[in-house]
């Protein structure tokens, strides 16, 4: 691999992780972002599931990008994505039933996460499998990082714990609103603001 190629791969990777972070910059995939970030562990599980689906679907879409006629490309992408999601749904139910129960309907809903179809259409359909894999890795990790930031804040304030380990003594009164839907909006708003300020500084 030449130095130039290596440099471009790093750029692709950092693009998803930071410069075009799916949540903080592109504001994609808001449904799971709001719904399952009430605890850190749920956020992490949702992030990792999305990352795995993204890696699988982007690589596969890229591999077959020349074989799929453009008229049916979206349909084919959805079939590929839905297959990965369902397989992950099965495995999560088998290996981590407790987490699966918490995430509930939001695992099947990864199929309609616009981040995944977005990357298939915008990147994987036009680039080599290697690059698409790196792009998916960057985007997936960026998504996980963002979900986890929201989840950590909401769990600490809303439940007084982190990864279910209590942080404060008996005296701490949890801010219940933080684990309820409004808490999700507040946290996301403050993080978006912070991200914007940090980037423009």
């Amino acid at each position: 691999m030449s130095e130039q190629q290596q440099a471009s791969n790093i750029t692709i990777f950092l693009n998803g992780l930071w410069k075009e972070n799916p949540i903080f910059v592109m504001v994609l995939g808001m449904c799971p972002t709001m719904a399952v970030t009430n605890t850190a562990i749920n956020s992490l599980a949702m992030g990792v599931s999305t990352l795995l689906v993204l890696l699988g679907s982007s690589t596969l879409v890229s591999l077959f990008r020349n074989a799929i006629p453009s008229q049916v490309r979206i349909t084919t992408y959805i079939v590929i994505i839905a297959t990965f999601v369902t397989v992950i749904d099965f495995f999560l139910a088998a290996l981590a039933p407790a987490v699966h129960k918490e995430l509930g309907a939001f695992i099947p809903l990864i199929v309609v996460n616009c981040l995944i179809l977005g990357r298939a259409e915008a990147f994987a359909a036009k680039n080599t499998p290697g690059k698409s894999f790196i792009d998916a890795l960057g985007m997936g990790l960026g998504f996980t990082f963002a979900l986890l930031s929201i989840g950590v804040i909401r769990e600490i304030l809303g439940s007084g714990s982190l990864f279910t380990i209590p942080l404060f003594g008996e005296g701490f009164e949890p801010w219940v609103i933080m684990v309820l839907p409004p808490g999700g909006f507040f946290t996301l708003a403050f993080l978006l603001l912070g991200f914007k300020l940090f980037k423009s500084a």
Partner: protein, 213 residues
């Protein structure tokens, strides 16, 4: 060389025939179907085992001191011993202690809660007509408020010795006086009421059958 390029260009510009589209989607669907069947065959026994483990743990929890249990199935109006894992809803679990003496029955029931179904399991002793343990199996109650029915120690204390006759009654927090009363959780009245109604429903379904056995 020039001709070849020319042919390639025309191929790209030409609309693919309907057959090509059908074949593409057909192949994608077929491969996807095979993957799903494979994943299902592999994970299905694991999922069932995990569910059975969760239920078993719950039975031991609602029947304190229980070390083994038998599954009983409702056949008409009497109970018959059934194989574990036989899939019918009309089942109770008779628990025994270390010495082999009967402790009581674990009964499953479900009612509508604040947001969705609340499903639970509780331990019932026919000889003393009391409930000796309760655990939520499934619920989507509001986090931080309604979900206290799952883990709030003071609320669960209600179900360690609770008379079921004439019926279980929900009272405001701190007003419990009678053995058949349950102290509600402040701020989660509807969820507390759902639990009481779950117990009463379960008793209505099973009490007569279990008491005469």
């Amino acid at each position: 060389m020039a001709t070849e390029e020319h042919t390639q260009d025309t191929v790209v510009e030409k609309e693919p025939g309907p057959l090509r589209l059908i074949v593409t989607l057909g192949v994608a669907g077929l491969v996807s179907g095979l993957c799903l069947v494979g994943a299902y065959i592999y994970t299905d026994p694991l999922i069932k085992a995990a569910k059975a483990r969760a239920l078993e743990a719950a039975i031991y929890e609602v029947l304190p001191g229980c070390t083994k249990f038998d599954v009983y199935e409702l056949k008409g109006d009497h109970l018959e011993k059934a194989r574990a894992g036989a899939g019918t809803e009309l089942r109770v679990f008779l628990g025994y202690d270390k010495g082999g003496a009967e402790i009581g029955y674990a009964i499953q029931s479900q009612v509508a809660g604040f947001q969705d179904v609340v499903a639970g399991i509780f331990g019932y002793v026919p000889s003393s007509k009391t409930i000796i343990g309760f655990k939520v199996l499934e619920s989507k109650e509001t986090p931080g408020l309604g979900d206290k029915i799952i883990k709030d120690a003071r609320f669960l204390e209600n179900f360690k010795q609770l008379a079921v006759e004439p019926e279980i009654v929900l009272v405001k927090h701190g007003e419990k006086q009678q053995p058949n009363e349950v102290d509600a959780i402040t701020g989660a009245t509807i969820s507390s009421r759902a639990v009481v109604s779950l117990l009463n429903t379960g008793m209505k379904d099973w009490k007569e059958i279990l008491d005469k056995k």
